[in-house]
């Protein structure tokens, strides 16, 4: 909490990710400088000079004739130093990977979501790798252990996004750097990686520049839609802006399909509602629903069947409800006839005045 408050102070309470990252690394560097100033061991660890890897000027050599074993106090001192070193390395790796996990979780597309297992792996992996490297401490063995770790992690981990592999590799790199007592390299790799990643995410780096973005494609129509409706904003406009090309194209196709079903502008639309049903027994539920719709609506049309494995499938109908029928009666009838076969049923009716203008229409939820 104190750390969070300190970052809040440094960022003046800003939630801007880059500002918060800069603040985090600033605090981290300040703490490291502080520790390096106070503890020479930490200073050596930051620069890739392990306590046993580099001989320092002024270092006292052990008297080989004084006795077979060095004094107990000296052994204890070395063990304490080793323990402090190990804790410092592992904590260092952890602190350097924390912002990476935040960036990872923040920059994943909203519809994909981040993989919690990957996020946790990014935390655990460098700690384990650092431990392995500290034990190995030999260049040839380092090469072999690197190959082993990479192979084990890569081929035993199923990743949805190929970019997730990069996070895992970064995790290994930070772990290795910490393990060979080079936290400076680990810190720089971590910081640069995070900032580059945020920039690529912010500016959608790598998109096909010949194709318009979803924001470019839909921004103006959405504004127009909002203005025609007389409202100051469109509720899900920000969400629409975050769509990628594939999602935008899917949505556009759906818009066009609905528009063709609604009929030409100025005329009374053929349908005025959307019925959404969730079911695990698609065929049986479909027969029951269509029987009810045939009986209780003026006209209906099956718009989309969303088949899912391992979770309920969705049925979407465009309906024109009779004037003398209350929409809830249709839902009640479907639930009554469907029983357990219908998990959920919703009927959304468009307001008549808005439907006439073709300005807004309740959309089925995207698959």
């Amino acid at each position: 909490m104190l750390f969070k408050k300190l970052i809040d102070v440094l960022t003046l309470g800003s939630e801007h990710p880059v500002k918060r990252l800069i603040a985090y690394y600033t605090v981290l560097v300040a703490v490291m400088v502080l520790l390096a100033t106070f503890f020479p061991t930490v200073d050596r660890l930051l620069g890739g000079q392990g306590p046993s890897g580099q001989v320092m000027a002024g270092e006292l050599l052990t008297d080989g004739l004084a006795g077979a074993a060095p004094p107990a106090a000296e052994i204890a001192s070395k063990r304490i130093e080793l323990a402090i070193t190990t804790v410092a390395m592992l904590l260092g790796a952890l602190l350097l990977m924390l912002p990476v996990t935040w960036v990872y979780m923040s920059t994943k597309a909203s519809n994909q979501g981040h993989n919690q297992q990957v996020a946790q792996t990014l935390i655990f992996l460098p700690i384990v790798v650092a431990g392995i490297v500290m034990v190995v401490q030999n260049s040839l063995a380092l090469a072999f252990s690197l190959a082993g770790v990479v192979a084990a992690v890569r081929f035993r981990t199923t990743l949805r996004d190929s970019r997730d592999v990069v996070y895992v590799f970064l995790s290994i790199a930070v772990g290795f750097a910490a393990g060979i007592h080079n936290l400076i390299v680990a810190a720089i790799v971590s910081a640069v990686f995070n900032f580059v990643l945020i920039m690529t995410w912010r500016y959608d780096f790598g998109r096909n520049v010949l194709q318009p973005t979803a924001a470019g494609h839909w921004g103006e129509p959405l504004k127009e839609l909002a203005a025609t409706a007389g409202d100051s904003s469109v509720p899900d406009r920000d969400l629409m802006m975050s769509l990628d090309q594939k999602q935008a194209a899917t949505l556009a196709e759906r818009f066009e399909r609905v528009q063709s079903l609604l009929g030409p502008r100025g005329k009374k639309p053929r349908y005025n509602g959307i019925l959404s049903v969730s079911t695990e027994q698609l065929t049986e539920a479909q027969a029951i629903i269509e029987g009810v719709l045939e009986k209780m609506t003026r006209r209906w049309k099956l718009d989309e069947v969303d088949t899912n494995e391992g979770k309920p499938s969705g049925l979407y109908y465009l309906v024109r409800v009779r004037k003398d029928t209350v929409p809830d009666e249709i839902i009640t009838e479907i639930r009554a006839q469907g029983g357990d076969r219908v998990i959920n049923a919703e009927l959304e009716i468009a307001p008549e005045n808005k439907v006439k203008k073709n300005d807004k229409f309740s959309q089925p939820q995207p698959a």
Partner: protein, 298 residues
């Protein structure tokens, strides 16, 4: 908010102040130890008979010096040592058992198979196993000193392991560990490379018949691991690691004597002799840590 922001700075200032106090106490503690060690060594020197095979001091080197290779003494009797993989030179206070300083060749230490070091006045030399001799000057602690490289052109003739400076001839002495030329297998080969010629002239070869060396012993060959010049006699002292022996030869290559090293030298890689009668031998780490051992020979 200002107070909160200032807190880390105040802490930093406080800790920086404390640091001096902590360092001062460490220096005080170390200096007491060093005084004790100096007194102990003086006492052992007083008790030890000349030509003793009992070490008067043995310093266990830290893991960073586990591959210690060559030893050399400066004009003012300071001991220089180096590892065999990187061009980092350490000054070791052999009387009190402490590392005085270290400096390296180049911005990042040059990595090669460094085998030995020699001091010729202000000039320092290190040789690789392929006979490439790096020349440089001594630097202060932590310095990165410039260097030049002289190629002996003998990489195909032999694999070098020892280097020394013969001040009477103003020449570098290179000891060959493994002879690659077929016809010379029956000799221990030394090369004398004159500094007067700026290391431009070809090195002069000194042949020591192996038969003369090994007669009366169980050895079949002698494999030098370092060489130094005895400051009293001017003889060449050749350390043979595998045979755990010390060979003494004259300037012309005549064999003067071969004696075994005392126990405790699993891999003797470096040798130096001081004018006040100390012989210093360095051992690479094997199952035991690397050490430097001092003997009183005069």
């Amino acid at each position: 908010m200002r107070t909160t922001a200032l807190t880390p700075l105040l802490l930093l200032a406080l800790l920086a102040g404390c640091r001096d106090g902590r360092m001062a106490s460490a220096v005080e503690r170390d200096s007491t130890t060093l005084r004790q060690r100096e007194a102990t060594l003086a006492s052992r020197l007083g008790d030890a008979p000349p030509d003793s095979t009992t070490p008067i001091a043995r310093w266990v080197l830290p893991p960073g010096l586990s591959e210690i290779s060559g030893l050399a003494l400066t004009k003012d009797m300071r001991l220089l040592a180096h590892n065999d993989e990187a061009a980092v030179i350490y000054e070791i206070d052999y009387r009190r058992g402490t590392v005085v300083k270290q400096f390296m060749l180049g911005d990042t230490p040059i990595r090669d198979d460094f085998e030995a070091i020699a001091v010729a006045g202000e000039r320092l030399f290190m040789t690789t196993s392929k006979g490439r001799v790096f020349e440089f000057r001594e630097g202060p602690d932590g310095a990165q000193v410039p260097f030049t490289v002289h190629d002996s052109g003998l990489a195909k003739e032999c694999e070098f392991e020892g280097l020394a400076f013969d001040s009477t001839d103003n020449a570098l002495l290179l000891a060959c560990k493994r002879i690659l030329t077929k016809g010379l297998k029956d000799f221990v080969i030394l090369y004398k490379w004159s500094l007067a010629g700026g290391l431009k002239t070809p090195p002069e070869e000194i042949r020591i018949p192996v038969a003369d060396v090994i007669q009366g012993t169980r050895f079949k060959r002698i494999t030098p691991s370092d060489i130094t010049v005895d400051p009293h006699t001017g003889h060449y002292l050749i350390l043979a690691s595998q045979e755990r022996s010390l060979l003494t030869v004259g300037k012309d290559g005549s064999v003067i004597g071969l004696r075994s090293l005392p126990p405790g030298h699993p891999m003797a890689e470096g040798i130096a002799a001081t004018p006040d009668g100390l012989l210093i031998v360095s051992d690479e780490a094997t199952k035991t840590p690397a050490t430097i051992t001092l003997y009183r020979v005069r």
